[in-house]
Amino acid sequence: MAGVPLYAQFINLFAAILLLIAFAMLAQRRVLTLIDLFAAQGLALAISTGVVAYGTSQPHLYFSTALTLLLKVALLPWILHRLIRRLDVRWEFEGLINIPTTMLIGIVLVVFAFNLALPISQLASTVTRSTLGIAMASVMLSFLMMITRRKAIPQVIGFLAMENGLFFAATSATYGMPMVVELGIALDVLVGMLILGVFFFQIREQFDSLDLQHLEKLKE
């Protein structure tokens, strides 16, 4: 890897970890482990943002790192854990498609994402451009997870993981969005999570379960 600075190699490493965790989430059946995986993905994201900040001397990225650590590694997993405890759900769940098939579809998606990202990463001047494909791939894998899961909480974790992927895309393509936008996005994610918390209780109260099969009455 001559010519590639050490920090860039670190970023590639963490990008790879991010993608691996996205696959692990796709394969994970247990909801508690899923939350831990989500926290781990947040951590990988925070570290790689920190490395980008250090390597390219972008001071505002340190702030994003702190925000990611606070929100995605500490606060959101904590809220999710609390929710699970309060709702007392600890089931293991079946997806709509079995796990090996899901993984195969996932691999196809990764290839597709890399192809899609290729023209953009060629235009990018950032050292992190090679990771743009990974960012897109993890967005698509989270998307796949949302589609294949039937229960409410895994769908939400998929949604949050998708936001992780988008955030990673922003860092790798442009060294992060302007601060005010990043703060706004963080606020939206947090408020969204709180609203979902309220929502879970409403669904549970109404159906006695968080299985979204109950939510398939409305057609057309």
């Binding site: 949302m146 442009t174 996005i185 409305l218 057309e220």
Partner: protein, 483 residues
């Protein structure tokens, strides 16, 4: 400058106040007053922009030009009339035992917050904040859709949250790509997402990146506009939420989301120098018109029926903006106005009609004209107006769009005409027995609010017969901006 701040601050203050006192007996009046003050501030802002031209406020954070100022005025106006309508409507719901005091407080507070997010989305100059505001609008309304806590309303709210959330995540990726392209020209930092800055360098932006960005932005914001095939959340959210929420979703949210698409289209079109963005918008628009028209005839729920009609009209507007050019854009902006006014008027009438009949099923509502002539006429006239009967304003804008389509995109005209015909047959045949059939309904505990309905319909009628010169000039300027 003070006007812009007032327009944004008043609904925010209203939301905070109503979060505390929203369940009191006088809360609906407070809601009306807050909306009315917002309307006054919006009127002042409009007057200023009309006399002094576009303005940039607070270090370019906010931007007002003829295109968004008319939407600000429309949003504040429909926000105000809907608050007038929700006053008796929510009281009746409370009297019928559909709502608890706490939920009424939630409704009032979130209603103001929703107005705030709409106005913020319209006024901001920053494409990133636009995204944040539209996502916040979803969050503010998702608990309103599930206000009744019935299984169907929970399902609708869940669908709304997840589909719009996923959709808007695509739009975020589009915004990131936009920033990525802009950063090369404008340098890193906050300036690269300001629409005015982007607009001044739009010819230099990298075309490949912008084309890709536009696909994501159109799919993302298009989900909120309710474009087919991303429309699944829309009828459910409209049918299961309280009627004032349906009225503002149809009348305001869809417009604002479409506004976001059009802002992006202006940039992309100038950058790519191809008709890519145009064709994409025309395609989605036409598909929405045709599919919605066919689905209209299968509806059994009155609110779903008009929700599908909203999809159809959003399709028409998207198609008009896709065609572009001064006349089509003029017609698009006009259609946004008249659709917003007519559709919210219809939802007001439908709201009281369903309360009278005690059901939302079309078969269950019969003979409104004998029971309550005013509601009956309101619904009949509203339906005729939305179907594009002359002399209402919808006819004028649809006529302009159709004639432009015949000249510029002749292939599309048959699809549009057939879809409009089918929509007419479907809606008319369903509304007619509701108004004139054998009556079955009961009395309401509060007087229904029908003034807003007739004010809206009168405005639409006026726009069909005579557009005031300053308004026409306004629309023309907006049309020129869109290009």
């Amino acid at each position: 400058m003070i006007e812009v701040l007032l327009v944004l601050a008043l609904p925010l203050i209203g939301a905070a106040v109503l979060a505390v006192i929203g369940e009191r007996d006088f809360a609906p009046e407070v809601n009306v007053v807050a909306s009315f003050c917002t309307l006054l501030a919006a009127a002042a802002l409009t007057a200023k922009v009309v006399s002094f031209g576009p303005m940039l406020v607070l270090e370019q954070l906010f931007f007002v030009d003829p295109f968004n100022v008319f939407l600000v005025a429309l949003t504040a106006f429909v926000g105000f009339t809907t608050s007038l309508f929700s006053r008796p409507y929510m009281r009746i719901e409370r009297a019928h035992g559909h709502l608890t005091a706490g939920r009424l407080r939630l409704f009032h507070s979130m209603y103001q917050l929703f107005n705030f997010t709409m106005l913020l989305a319209l006024l901001t100059n920053n494409m990133g904040i636009l995204w944040v505001a539209l996502e916040a609008a979803t969050l503010a309304t998702v608990l309103l859709v599930s206000l009744y806590r019935t299984p169907a309303s929970l399902e609708a709210a869940w669908k709304y949250f997840i589909l719009c959330g996923v959709g808007i995540a695509q739009a975020l990726f589009g915004t990131i790509l936009l920033y990525f392209a802009a950063e090369k020209v404008l340098g890193a930092g906050g300036g690269a997402l300001l629409w005015t800055e982007l607009n001044s360098v739009k010819g230099d932006l990298e075309p490949t990146v912008l084309s890709l960005a536009f696909v994501f932005l159109l799919v993302g914001y298009g989900t909120k506009v309710g474009l087919v095939p991303l429309h699944n959340w829309l009828p459910d959210a409209h049918a299961e939420g309280p009627t004032p929420v349906s009225a503002v979703l149809s009348g305001l949210l869809l417009n604002v989301a479409l506004y976001a698409v059009v802002r992006c289209k202006v940039l992309v079109e100038a950058s790519t120098q191809t008709s890519f963005a145009k064709e994409l918008m025309m395609g989605f628009g036409l598909l929405s018109v045709v599919v919605a028209a066919f689905l209209l005839s299968r509806q059994k729920d009155i609110k779903r029926l008009f929700a599908y009609s909203s999809i159809e009209h959003m399709g028409i507007i998207t198609f008009a903006f896709g065609m572009g050019g001064p006349i089509a854009n003029f017609a698009g902006v006009l259609h946004m106005t008249v659709h917003s006014l007519t559709k919210s008027a219809i939802f007001f009438a439908v709201g009281h009609a369903t309360q009278k009949a005690g059901t939302q099923s079309i078969d269950g509502i019969r003979g409104l004209i004998t029971l309550s002539p005013m509601i009956g006429w309101a619904l009949a006239l509203g339906a005729l107006a939305i179907l594009g009967m002359p002399p209402f304003g919808v006819f004028a804008s649809e006529f302009l769009i159709l004639t432009t389509a015949m000249r510029d995109q002749p292939w599309a005209t048959p699809f549009l005409l057939i879809a409009l015909g089918i929509a007419f047959a479907a809606v008319f045949s369903k509304v007619q027995p509701m108004v004139f059939g054998e009556p079955n309904a009961h009395r309401l505990p509060h007087r229904p609010a029908l003034v807003p309905v007739f004010v809206h319909l009168a405005l639409v009628l006026m726009l069909g017969l005579w557009i005031p010169p300053y308004l026409a000039e306004w629309y023309r300027q907006a049309a020129r901006l869109i290009g």
